[in-house]
C-alpha cells in the first residue's frame, strides 16, 4: 500500500496541473499581500477565494485523475492486494498532493509576510485547515463519482453539477426555504441545513474565528447565538469528519461489489 501511495504522490506532484494550481495560490497570495499589508484583510480575501476554488479543483482534479488512471488501477487490482488498499493509497496520494499545493501556495507567502508575528496565526491555520479539508472531501466525492460511473463524460458532468450545487445552488435553496418558512422557528433547521454542506461548514468556521458578525451570515449568527462559538466550532469539525467518513464508507461498499 505504501508503494502505491508513494508513486501516486510522485505522479501527482509531477503533474503540470498541480504546478499551475500551486502557482495560482502563490500568485493570488502575493498579489493580496502587495495590495494590502493587513494580514486580516489578506486572510479574509484568501478565505473567499479558497472556499470557491478548492472544492472545484478537488472534485474536477479527482475525477480526471481517476479516469486517467483507470487502466493502471485495473492492473494494480490483479496484484495480491485488496481493492480497498489500492484505492485508499491512490486517493491519499491525490489528497496529500492537493493539500501540499495549498500549504505551499498560501502558506509560503504568508509566512514571508510575517503571519506568525501577527495576531492572526490561529485564523491562518484554520484557513489552511479548511482549504485542505475541502480538498480532502471533494476529491473523495470525485473518487466516489468516478468509481460509480464508468462513463467519463457522465462522471465529469455529475462532478461539475455537484460542485455547482454545493457552491452556488445550495445557498439559494436554503434562503428560499428560510423565506418560505419565515413564520416558524428556524434555528434548528438552519443549523441542520448548514451541516449538509461542507463548504458552508468551512465558511462558518472561518467566520466564527474572524468574529465579524456582519459577514457571518444567518447560519453563522444562529450557530454562534444558540450553540456558542466553541461548541459550534466542535460541531462543525465533527460534521466535516462525517463528510469524510460517510463517503469513505460508501466508496468501500461500491468497491466490494464493482466489476472492473
Amino acid at each position: 500500500m505504501n508503494s502505491v501511495l508513494k508513486y501516486s504522490f510522485y505522479e501527482m506532484i509531477r503533474s503540470r496541473w498541480l504546478f499551475i494550481y500551486t502557482g495560482f495560490y502563490l500568485l493570488v497570495s502575493v498579489a493580496l499581500i502587495m495590495l494590502s499589508g493587513d494580514s486580516t484583510k489578506v486572510l479574509i480575501s484568501l478565505s473567499n477565494i479558497t472556499l470557491g476554488i478548492t472544492p472545484m479543483v478537488g472534485i474536477l482534479f479527482g475525477t480526471n485523475y481517476y479516469y486517467n488512471s483507470r487502466e493502471f488501477i485495473q492492473l494494480l487490482l490483479c496484484q495480491p492486494i485488496s481493492r480497498w488498499k489500492i484505492f485508499s493509497a491512490f486517493y491519499m496520494g491525490l489528497a496529500i498532493a492537493l493539500c501540499l499545493s495549498i500549504i505551499v501556495g498560501i502558506g509560503l507567502p504568508l509566512t514571508f509576510m510575517g503571519i506568525f508575528k501577527s495576531g492572526n496565526v490561529s485564523l491562518f491555520f484554520i484557513l489552511i485547515a479548511m482549504a485542505c479539508m475541502l480538498s480532502i472531501i471533494f476529491s473523495l466525492l470525485a473518487f466516489l463519482i468516478a468509481v460509480k460511473f464508468d462513463n467519463k463524460v457522465k462522471g465529469l458532468s455529475i462532478a461539475v453539477l455537484l460542485w455547482l450545487f454545493f457552491a452556488i445552488i445550495y445557498d439559494g435553496l436554503v434562503l428560499l426555504t428560510l423565506l418560505v418558512l419565515k413564520d416558524y422557528p428556524l434555528d434548528k433547521l438552519t443549523i441542520s441545513l448548514m451541516l449538509a454542506n461542507p463548504i458552508d461548514l468551512a465558511r462558518v468556521l472561518i467566520l466564527l474565528k474572524l468574529d465579524i458578525s456582519a459577514m457571518m451570515g444567518y447560519t453563522g449568527a444562529v450557530l454562534s447565538k444558540f450553540i456558542g462559538k466553541s461548541l459550534g466550532s466542535l460541531l462543525i469539525v465533527l460534521s466535516l469528519l462525517l463528510w469524510t467518513l460517510i463517503p469513505l464508507g460508501i466508496l468501500r461498499k461500491i468497491l466490494n461489489s464493482k466489476d472492473f
Binding site: S3, V4, E11, L75, L77, C78, Q79, P80, D259
Partner: protein
C-alpha cells in the same frame, strides 16, 4: 490449478458467461480463443477477481477465490491495454509493480530481452506504444509465477520482439508453467499452444488439444479450423 464450476456473469440483462465449467491445470500453453464479445476477457477477469461472478465458483489450487487476494501471488497477468501513469518513469513503474509480490524477480533479463535499457529513465508519456507494451511485458513476466495469463500479448510489438516473446514463453512452458493466452492472431496461438479453449457466446464450444481441433475440423491450419467451427455454430 484453476477449476471453474458453472461460472455465470450477467451485466444487467446481458449474459456474458453462461455456465462455464473448466479445469485448467498442468503445464504448457493454452490458447483461449473466440470472436469479439465471446466472453474471453470477462472469463480472465473473473479468474483474477476483477469481475465478480453472478453465479458459480472459481477455485485456485483447491481454494475458492471469492473475497481472497493472496492467490494472485501465483498469477502473472498481462492486460490487453497498458496505460501507465504518464509522469512516472519506466523504472519507477517496474519498482512499484515489484513491490507487490515476494521472491526473486527477473526484470533485468527481461529489460535486456526487449532492449529497454535506454528507455528506463524516460517518463511513460515519452515512450512509444511499442515500448509501453514491452514495459507491460516486463511487469507481467518478471515475477516468475507458476501461472501466466496473457491478453493479446503481441499488440504493438515489432516482429523481433514477438519472436523473442514466443521463445521466452516456450522456455517458460518447458519450465513447467501454465500459460493462458488470448489472441486474435491465429498463427501466434498455433505456434505456441498445445491446448485450445474456444468460447462462443459465453459458452465453451471446444476444449481440447490443438491437434484434435485441427483433425476434427479437417482444416489445414488453426485459422481455417476456427472459421469452420464458427460456421458450424452459426448455421
Amino acid at each position: 490449478m484453476i477449476e471453474i464450476k458453472q461460472l455465470q456473469k450477467k451485466y444487467h440483462k446481458l449474459v456474458v458467461l453462461k455456465g462455464i465449467d473448466l479445469d485448467i491445470s498442468g503445464r504448457g500453453v493454452i490458447a483461449l480463443l473466440g470472436p469479439n464479445g465471446s466472453g474471453k476477457t470477462t472469463l480472465i477477469k473473473c479468474i483474477l477477481g476483477m469481475v465478480l461472478p453472478s453465479g458459480g465458483q472459481i477455485f485456485f489450487n483447491g481454494e475458492n477465490i471469492k473475497g481472497k487476494n493472496e492467490y494472485r501471488n501465483d498469477i502473472d497477468y498481462l492486460p490487453q491495454i497498458a496505460q501507465f501513469p504518464e509522469n512516472l518513469s519506466a523504472i519507477e513503474i517496474i519498482e512499484l509493480m515489484k513491490s507487490f509480490k515476494q521472491g526473486e524477480t527477473r526484470e533485468k533479463a527481461l529489460i535486456e530481452l526487449f532492449g529497454l535499457e535506454r528507455e528506463l529513465e524516460k517518463k511513460m508519456m515519452n515512450l512509444s506504444g511499442g515500448n509501453r507494451q514491452k514495459i507491460n511485458l516486463v511487469i507481467a513476466l518478471m515475477h516468475d509465477s507458476p501461472v501466466i495469463i496473457l491478453d493479446e500479448p503481441s499488440t504493438g510489438l515489432d516482429p523481433l520482439s514477438i519472436t523473442r516473446l514466443k521463445s521466452f514463453l516456450r522456455n517458460e512452458s518447458n519450465r513447467g508453467k501454465l500459460i493462458l493466452l488470448t489472441t486474435h492472431i491465429m498463427s501466434l496461438a498455433e505456434g505456441m499452444a498445445e491446448k485450445v479453449i474456444f468460447l462462443l457466446d459465453g459458452r465453451i464450444r471446444f476444449n481440447g488439444m490443438m491437434t484434435e481441433l485441427l483433425d476434427m475440423q479437417g482444416g489445414q491450419d488453426l485459422e481455417s479450423s476456427i472459421a469452420q467451427l464458427l460456421d458450424n455454430e452459426t448455421v
